[in-house]
Each structure stands twice: as C-alpha cells, then as structure tokens.
C-alpha cells in the first residue's frame, strides 16, 4: 500500500508541480496514474520513491515513511524509471547482481529469480553483454528485471510499456495482474489510455498538480453518466481544467 498525505512540491518557489495531493493506492489492485504531459506524474513518482523531497506532507509505503524511515521504506518497492539508459557500461548480469546485493537477496534466491525473469523476457542470451549494446526495449526489460529481483511487495513503474515489443508488453501486463492478485501493490503511470482501460482496477487522473478523479473505471463512467471510452472522458476532464 502507498499513502500520499498532503504532499506538495514547487519549483523556483512558486510554480506548484504538485499541490497538496492525497492518494491511497491499495493492495491487490493495479493502479493506473494518468495525466497529460507535464501534469505532475513523474514529480509525484519521484517523491514517492525518495528521489526528490516533498516540500510538505509525507509518503508511506507499507506504513513506512519515505522521509523518516527511508531505507526500510525503499526496501519495500521496486522502481522502474521512465528512462532506462542507466548503468550502460555494466553487463546485464552485473547490473542485476548489483541490484541483488543492494537489496540483500540471498544467492539461491537471486539465481532462480534472475533465470526466471530472463526466460520470461527472453533476455537469457543478452545477460553477458554490456547494457550499452541493448536496444531501447531491452534496456527497459533489464531495468524492469533489476527492479523485480528482490521480489518487492510494491511495484512503482513509470511508463513501463514504452519501447516494449507486444510480447514483452503482454508478459509485463500478465505479471502485473499476478502480482496484484497475490494481494500486492502495482502503481504505474502511462500515457497510453488503452492499456489503462484494459488492465487497471483503479485509476487516478492528475492535471496541473491536482487529482481530478480517483476511482474505478465504472465509477468514472457513472460520474460522466455515459458509456464513453476512457479517452473521451480523459480529454473532457483535462481540457475543462
């Protein structure tokens, strides 16, 4: 579970990127985080993961505060950033092992986990090569594997489908479903409304740093009293702002 409590963040002391945001991402559900470009999605995710400090408010991950109990809170989640161009000089397996060391994963567990993930994402033959030689999609996959190697309870994924081929994208969606069905938390941001429409149990729509809507898709349809697609509801909501 992730709880955002009255978090705010402003840049240059005046432009509020995120304004007094409250949000609870429950366990056992896939939670989609939607919004137009520059709405505050990535800023929010950065505050959840401890990459930037919130000016006000706090974030709790499985009850642990990212401000007061940072290290234990960070152990709770696996994070996939929106840009996978990192650790390019390391070989795939070296990177995964680095992450496993950082998250204290025992040897036999990491071995099984890495092999299983590599199989699933068809990365077995690439693990011995430097990440620099990977395509964008492969980089996305290796970062994803690194985030999941310690089997975190909470998944935080920033635009995880970008660059993935249809098969890998399908596998990821399948894994997200399994994880949520096991009573764990999946929180991901996306621009792609079709993806959100298909797999999310719940969505939150953010624009200009404020949450416009939070609930299930049915609730959203009720709200609009129509049978419209998510796209038209989304457009209507964000343009009326």
């Amino acid at each position: 579970m992730i709880e955002l409590q009255n978090i705010s963040k402003s840049y240059n002391g005046k432009n509020k990127a995120v304004d007094n945001l409250n949000l609870t991402i429950p366990e056992g559900q896939i939670f989609g985080f939607l919004g137009p470009n520059g709405a505050g999605k990535t800023t929010t995710i950065k505050m959840i993961t401890g990459i930037i400090n919130a000016d006000e408010g706090d974030v709790k991950i499985n009850g642990l505060s990212i401000k007061k109990d940072a290290l234990r809170a960070k152990m709770q989640f696996g994070f996939v950033p929106d840009n996978p161009d990192m650790f390019l000089k390391l070989k795939g397996l070296e990177y995964l092992n680095f992450m496993a060391d950082i998250y204290d994963v025992p040897k036999n567990v990491r071995k099984e986990k890495i092999q299983a993930l590599a199989d699933r994402f068809e990365m077995t033959n690439a693990l011995g090569d430097q990440i620099q030689s990977y395509s964008h999609g492969m980089r996305q996959k290796i970062v994803l594997m690194g985030a999941l190697v310690h089997d975190p309870a909470v998944w935080i994924l920033d635009e995880p489908m970008t660059g993935l081929d249809p098969k890998s994208s399908f596998v990821l969606k399948e894994m997200m479903r399994e994880h949520a069905d096991n009573g764990k938390t999946v929180f991901f941001s996306t621009h792609v409304l079709e993806v959100a429409e298909k797999i999310c149990d719940k969505v939150a729509i953010i624009n200009k740093g404020n949450i416009l809507f939070c609930g299930t898709l049915e609730e959203m349809r009720d709200h609009f009293k129509s049978n419209e697609s998510l796209e038209s509801m989304f457009l209507e909501m964000t343009e009326n702002e």
């Binding site: 240059n12 650790f87 390391l90 070296e94 680095f98 077995t124 033959n125 430097q130």
Partner: protein, 553 residues
C-alpha cells in the same frame, strides 16, 4: 557557412548551460564558487604579471625583452596542444550529440568545424590565465601603443588555432584507423593514449634537439648580440608563434604588420588543411562510433554462477564504481590511468645516471635531521602526484550525471554511498603512493623507517585529498553533461581540489622546514595535521554531506 555558425552557437550554448541549472537557491553557491576560483587564480595571474615586469627589466637591459613573449606564446601553445589532444578526441568523437548530428543534412566539415570552435572557446579560458597578465604587463613595461594591444587581441584569439589543428590531425587520423572491428571503445582508449604519447614525445624530442644544438658559448653569444635575437631559439618549441612574437615586438613598424599577416596566413593555411582533412576523413572515423560489442550468447552455468556471487552492498557498490571508471574511456584516462603511468616520466631521469650519482652518496647515512628535511620534501612530491590524480574522488558525484536519481531510490544510506565513492578514489590514488615509495626505495635506497613514515603520510594525504575532493563535488556537482569527458575534464571541482590541497600542503611543508624539525617531529606534525583534517571532513561529510546529497535534485 551560416549552418556552421548556427551549429557553433548551439554547441556553445550547451557548453555554458551544462554547468548546472540556475535557480535562486543555487545562486549563493555559484557565487561562492566563483569567488573561490577567483581567489585561487588571481594571485597566480597577478604574480605572473609582476614576474613578467621584473623579467622585462632584466631582459631589456640586455636588449632581449622579446624572449618573454616568445617563451609565453610557446608555453601557451604547448599547453593548448597537450591539454587539447584528449579534449579534441572527446569533443569530436565521443560526445553524445554526434548521434543526433549524423542524420542531419550537414557536411562533415560543418560539424567538425563547429566542434573545433567549441574547443577553441574552451582554450581561450585556459589562455586567459597566462596570456592576459603577460600581454598587459609586457605592454605596460614597454609603454606600447594601441597597435600592440590590437595585435595582442588578434594573437590571443588566433594563437590556439594551430596547436588545436595539430591535435585534430592526430585525432582524425587515429580515429580513422581505429574505427574498426568490435571493442571500439577499448581500441579508442588505446588510440587516445597513443595520441597523447606521440604528442608529449614529439615535444620532448623537439626540446632535447633544440638543447643539443645549442652550445653554451653560442647561447651567451646570442644573448650578447641583443636586439631580441634569442626569440627564434625560444620559439623553436612551437615555431609558428615566432611570427606573432616578431609582430608584437615591432608593432609600430611595417615589418611588424608583415609578420602579423604572415602569422595569420600560416594560421589560416592550417585551418584550411583541417577543413579539407575533416571533410574527407571525419565521417569515416565517427560513423558507428557508439556501437558496443555484443555476443548475444547464453552464459555457461559457471559464468553465471561466478557473476552472481553475493557481496556486501559496499563491496558491490565499489565494484560498480570501478567497472564504470575502467570501462568509460574518458574516466579511464582522466581518473585511473595517470595513477599508473606517471612513473614513466622518471624514465629519462633513470637513464641519466650523472644526476643521481651524487645524490645517492648522501642517502646512505640519513640522520634524524636529514630525515626531517627529506620527509616533508617527499611528502610535497607525493601530494603533487596525489592531487593531480584525485579526479576519481573529486568527480565522483558529477560522474553520476542525470542518473544521480538511481542513488536516491536504492536502499543504501547516502552516507554509505558517499563514503564508498570516496573509497574508490582512495584506493586508486593509494596506488600512486605505493609506487612512489617503491621508486624511492629502489632509486635512493632510503632507510626502511623513513619509507614507512613516507607511506603513512602518503596515505593520510590520499584520504584527506579524497575527502576534500568529494566534499567539493557534493557542493558543486556537475550533473548536466552530454559526454563523459565533461564530467571529469571540464570539471572545475578537480582544479579547485588541487588548489586547496596544494595550498594546505605548501603551508604545512613550509612550517615544518622552517622550524627545522627532526624526522619524527616532522612526521608527527604532518600526520597530526592531516589526521585532523581527514577526521573533520569525515564527520562533515557524514552529517551535512548526506543532507546536501539528499537535496541535489
């Protein structure tokens, strides 16, 4: 041509902005940084100016004042040439923007020309420190007129061109013939080092050649002739600057104008050859530069098992730092390799036994008093080597670049991460200390006690320097760069660390020698000073360092 100017403009704009985002809260820090840099360079520039003034009086009395300009121009040209090699290779070939530029409808000479302009601009900054005090002081002393200063400005702007063109020739040719096969990065690193070797080698050869062909009598003879006859000899180091010097010492005469024009024509000719060569060979060297080797084959069970060995988070983090430093050519060259190759500079000394024959006699029986002198001097030499090689620590945060956010979300405390980064620098620079002590043991046959004391002081120096370096980098990280070169080479933090470290070391060595301490007292004083400095910065980094790290966004 307009495309060339547009491109240059874009490059230069990026160049300036990469030093960091400007926001209100950052301003005081930027100000402090500028003040520190100014405080460090101002004495250097002022003392250079004053020194030139004194030298002018002496040389003017024997009618050889032109030697000052000759020596100054040659030195500047040499510095630009040597420091330029790696910068040219990195800017022309290793910069990330190459990938965005290749698909654009631009001629090779337009891209390489604009990149050349960026290097030139950067070299102007280097030039400022030496050339400005030199030109002003010389002009003041010789009560020069307006034309002298106009010539001065022209020379200032054009002097670095030929050395950079020479660097570019080396770079273009090396990259043309190393851009082959797999393992390009490794190949290029070797190529870059090779280029550096050639460059430095040519200069040494040139100098010793000049030296051998000048007998002492001839030198005295030429000095006595007066009339700036010695200028030609000094400019042999960089012959092209000869014309510029001759123009500057005769600014009011027609001859001066002729020399000025000659200098400009030669410079333009070099630039022209550069454009032609760039047009012909640049793309052949740069296309495919970012390809990385890959096998795409399944690892064997043993390989797999070996790689997934469990380590503590600190060890794993340290290994990660080393892997990245060793596998990135810019980091390898700037932070690692120098630790291993500086003893090569001692080779000429080793092959010149005359100089050391006498010295060895004295080192057989070293008493406490002699030890008290040798120890601080050895410490001074070590500190010089240490601070020159402190790049690993003083760029540790900057090297993370845009990926700094990864350090923020992994469950490892900031204190631990900073200390591990410092440790990577401490380990690398310690290699230099070990080598220094071994060289001292072999070459001078120093007594073992003295060697041990030297080693201890060396390690304390390494620790303090690394801590100071990482503390500076924490405060002024350079995170917005598009090629790794910028994170390490064009990073003022390294320079700042060197200046601070040099000042502290010079002060303590001066005090120790002045007090005439014995070996043990000298050791005690230096060790205590550096111990206290290291501990103080350690605690500062542990507390406020972690806070600063957390606030970097």
């Amino acid at each position: 041509m307009s495309k060339f100017f547009k491109l240059t403009w874009v490059f230069l704009k990026n160049f300036g902005q990469s030093s960091g985002k400007k926001s209100k809260s950052k301003l005081p820090k930027t100000l402090i940084f500028s003040i520190i840099m100014l405080a460090c360079f101002a004495p250097l520039a002022i003392s250079l100016g004053v020194g030139v003034g004194h030298l002018y009086d002496i040389l003017a009395s024997i009618k050889q004042p032109g030697v000052i300009l000759a020596a100054g121009f040659s030195t500047v040209a040499l510095i630009v040439f040597i420091f330029g090699i790696l910068m040219v290779i990195n800017t022309f070939y290793f910069s990330k923007d190459v990938e965005y530029l290749l698909p654009l409808p631009l001629r090779p000479s337009q891209i390489i020309g604009a990149k050349f302009a960026v290097v030139l601009f950067y070299e102007y900054l280097t030039e400022l420190i030496i050339m400005l005090p030199l030109l002003i002081s010389f002009g003041y002393k010789s009560s020069a007129g307006v034309i002298y200063y106009i010539y001065g400005l022209i020379v200032f702007l054009t002097l670095p061109i030929i050395p950079i063109v020479l660097d570019s020739f080396l770079a273009i040719i090396i990259m043309r013939f190393t851009n082959i096969g797999k393992h390009k990065e490794r190949f290029k690193t070797i190529g870059a080092l090779f280029g550096l070797g050639i460059g430095v080698g040519i200069q040494f050869l040139n100098q010793s050649f000049t030296g051998k062909h000048m007998s002492q009598d001839k030198i005295i003879d030429m000095f006595q002739q007066g009339n700036n006859s010695f200028v030609g000899v000094v400019t042999k180091i960089f012959p092209f600057s000869d014309f510029a010097v001759k123009a500057m010492i005769n600014p009011e005469k027609a001859m001066g104008l002729v020399y000025m024009l000659l200098f400009l024509v030669v410079t333009a000719a070099f630039a022209g050859v550069f454009v032609v060569l760039g047009e012909g060979l640049y793309f052949k060297g740069v296309i495919g530069i970012s390809e990385a080797p890959s096998q795409r084959k399944k690892l064997s069970a043993e390989e797999f098992d070996k790689t997934i060995e469990v380590s503590s988070s600190i060890k794993s983090y340290l290994i990660k730092e080393f892997r990245i430093m060793f596998r990135t050519s810019a980091y390898l060259i700037n932070c690692v390799i120098m630790n291993f190759i500086w003893p090569l500079f001692f080779i000429p000394v080793l092959f010149n036994p005359e100089g050391f024959g006498d010295l060895k006699k004295y080192t057989v029986n070293i008493d406490n008093q002699a030890g008290g002198l040798i120890l601080p001097i050895a410490f001074g030499v070590m500190m010089f080597i240490i601070m020159s090689n402190s790049g690993a620590a003083s760029t540790a945060i900057s090297r993370e670049g845009e990926n700094l956010f990864v350090c923020k979300y992994i469950p490892m405390s900031y204190r631990k991460q900073i200390m591990t980064k410092a440790l990577s620098g401490i380990i690398l620079t310690s290699i230099s200390v070990v080598m220094f002590v071994v060289i001292a043991a072999v070459m001078f046959k120093l007594p073992i006690t003295l060697l041990i004391l030297m080693a201890i002081l060396g390690f304390l120096g390494v620790i303090a320097t690394s801590f100071i370096g990482i503390f500076i980098d924490l405060n002024f990280p350079k995170l917005h760069w598009e090629n790794e070169q910028k994170a390490v080479k064009q990073n003022m933090n390294l320079m700042l660390n060197m200046l601070i470290t040099a000042a502290v070391a010079a002060l303590i060595i001066f005090i120790v020698i002045k007090l005439g301490l014995g070996m043990w007292a000298a050791f005690g004083m230096i060790a205590a000073t550096y111990g206290v400095i290291s501990l103080a910065i350690y605690f500062t980094i542990s507390t406020s360092g972690a806070k600063i790290f957390s606030s970097i966004e």
